[in-house]
Subunit: 141 residues, 2 copies
Amino acid sequence: MTRRSNKSAHSRVRADHASEIAEDYVEAIAAILVEKEICRVIDLAREFQVSHVTVNRTISRLQRDEFVTTTPYGPIELTPKGRRLAQASRRRHEIVLRFLKALGVSDATAIQDSEGIEHHVSGETLQAMEKFAAKRLGSGE
Amino acid sequence: MTRRSNKSAHSRVRADHASEIAEDYVEAIAAILVEKEICRVIDLAREFQVSHVTVNRTISRLQRDEFVTTTPYGPIELTPKGRRLAQASRRRHEIVLRFLKALGVSDATAIQDSEGIEHHVSGETLQAMEKFAAKRLGSGE
DNA sequence: ACCGAGATGTAACCAAGGCTACATTTCCAG
DNA sequence: CTGGAAATGTAGCCTTGGTTACATCTCGGT
């Protein structure tokens, strides 16, 4: 196979689920909520290194899509749907991270790359990564 | 580390290089050029399953950024810069693909996921993948 | 040589993500 | 209890990537 005939493969890459941004946001919100009890616009702005305006509009979309709830000037909370997505994202993220470390790359690289990769791994691949990491690292850390 | 403190990690995810789309396009153009000698808008429209209009505008950007050259109603060609990017993308893509297969996922999944992952692997990770695949599959196929 | 089908181009629209500049709210230190 | 700093909100603009509808060009077959 000299590469070619990917037809629909590409189109599927960008489709489906709540945008990568949505996943990143709910994941971050969940994490912030864990260690700070309250999540505000500014926390996300700092986390993603974007302006508070961008966060604002993104949160609006997330609210529209029922992933979060919030009120003007109020804190940001996750809906059950948002919490579910957050947990799924976190799980993926962690599996990919553990996998990369098991593969032998530096921690910094593993952290970096896992952010980009997590949104593009199918269930099948995720499972393979999990298995691989387990074999290399054992179940613990 | 309970996950957090990724600060700049995310921002770096979307930055740098010619957008993923650019890479996908030059890679596809190069591949088409290999087996058809001529690449036209419609070829890319079919490849990516988007309208010819989208391809048109994307090609304009690629031309603006000097990755391709073309004339109204004419075929699309790669500039040296475009050829370089295409080759680099193809290499990455192939390494990731081989790696996923070595990991043990189905061919279909490997093909699918490699499209999404190729743009998010650092050089370090790519190297690790290459090494892993070589160990599992040997140098040949 | 011509003519229509198919390939391209253009106009105009949409949503997502990003930004700056400016307007409002909040809320705590004094 | 109040003033101002910090957090939020709003308006308006940009780019990318995607669309449909409609205009135009090209080229091969009759």
